[in-house]
């Protein structure tokens, strides 16, 4: 009986079930950012694993089949990016400058704060990719010798902080243009921010995925080089 709990069938069922539960909670809560499916789903999975006394790493191995899809999903981002190309043409200058400076700022601000709080070497390395989408962050972190779980945790927490604060923050800063709103959210809070931006409007979503692609690509290029230079 218990061997069923250790196989991929159980792990994948648990994941799909947690997703359905998370979607239910999310829509019922009126799409409250704190209950975003990635957050509530992850909590449900963790709670189930703890209750059933299952090992997280074994579970993660068992859903390899699902996480494999992160690769083609990253490639798939080329399609919305292509669709938004015409948006970029009008505002190419401001957007490209913001991505370049913003991506460096995102990594550097996290590193400086963590360093001030006395973080160790591997935590610092794992924080450099916090503002980029998980599949890219995982690959880059492995490349520079960080810890994948911490990198993923920082990416997810970044997304959570981004979507829970953006509405209030940008109201205060008086940034209500859907294009700027979406772009900044995609830059700072990657895929989680992008799915939130699509809820605001298709235009915000389009600019958010544009920012996600550009930030991911730019960070993936500069972090490995910067890391080699610093270490």
């Amino acid at each position: 009986m218990s061997e069923l709990l250790h196989g991929p069938l159980f792990a994948i069922t648990l994941t799909l079930l947690a997703y359905q539960g998370a979607m239910f909670v999310y829509t019922r809560s009126g799409r409250l950012a704190l209950f975003h499916p990635t957050i509530s789903g992850a909590t449900l999975i963790a709670a189930a694993l703890m209750l059933l006394q299952q090992d997280y790493h074994a579970y993660y191995q068992n859903i390899n089949w699902l996480t494999f899809l992160l690769g083609p999903a990253t490639v798939a981002l080329a399609v919305p990016l292509y669709r938004q190309l015409h948006l970029l043409r009008n505002m190419a200058g401001p957007l490209l400058i913001t991505v370049t400076v913003g991506a460096i700022f995102a990594s550097a601000s996290a590193l400086i704060i963590a360093w001030l709080f006395g973080a160790n070497h591997s935590t610092l390395l794992s924080l450099t990719t916090k503002s980029i989408t998980t599949p890219i962050a995982i690959t880059v972190t492995q490349d520079i010798g960080g810890v994948t779980t911490i990198a993923v945790a920082s990416v997810i927490l970044t997304g959570v902080v981004g979507i829970t604060t953006v509405t209030w923050l940008f109201e205060k800063l008086d940034i209500q243009d859907d294009r700027l709103w979406g772009f900044c959210l995609g830059l700072s809070a990657h895929a989680i921010g992008t799915s939130r931006a699509f809820e605001r409007s298709p235009v915000a979503g389009a600019f958010s995925s544009l920012a996600l692609c550009l930030t991911g690509t730019f960070t993936a290029i500069f972090v490995p080089f910067a890391a080699r230079w610093f270490m």
Binding site: T15, A18, Y19, P72, A76, S109, A110, S131, A189, A191
Partner: protein
């Protein structure tokens, strides 16, 4: 939809191959994304199969990210002393990044808008 999926993993495979062949620091799927992007620009439109396939996959992203996210709860005792720095860096860093980018893009965008009006 399967034909679309084939283009996606085909581009990824090509990306992984180029990454290894040239020893690039860029992840294979990201190179695959750039290849597909260039391909779409050359072709000039998105094939229907690819449109559907990629949309389905992108819709699944929140679910694909749930399992890695659950790892936060299992970081273990070795990470205990790192939590304050970690939380401070991520929350404060993200807030600063949002404010910084928001102000920067508003400044740059406002300026180009004004430039255009000036020229007109």
């Amino acid at each position: 939809m399967l034909a679309g999926f084939l283009s996606l993993i085909g581009c990824q495979l090509l990306g992984e191959f180029i990454q290894r062949a040239l020893g690039l620091p860029l992840p294979g799927p990201v190179i695959g994304m750039l290849i597909l992007f260039i391909g779409l620009c050359i072709r000039g439109d998105v094939p229907k199969d690819l449109e559907i396939g990629s949309q389905r996959l992108i819709e699944l992203l929140p679910m694909l990210l749930m399992a890695p996210a659950a790892g936060v709860f299992f970081l273990g005792a070795g990470f205990a002393d790192q939590w304050p720095a970690f939380i401070a860096a991520v929350t404060l860093g993200t807030l600063c990044t949002l404010v910084f980018c928001g102000l920067l893009i508003r400044f740059l965008h406002g300026r180009t808008d004004k430039d255009r009006k000036d020229r007109a």
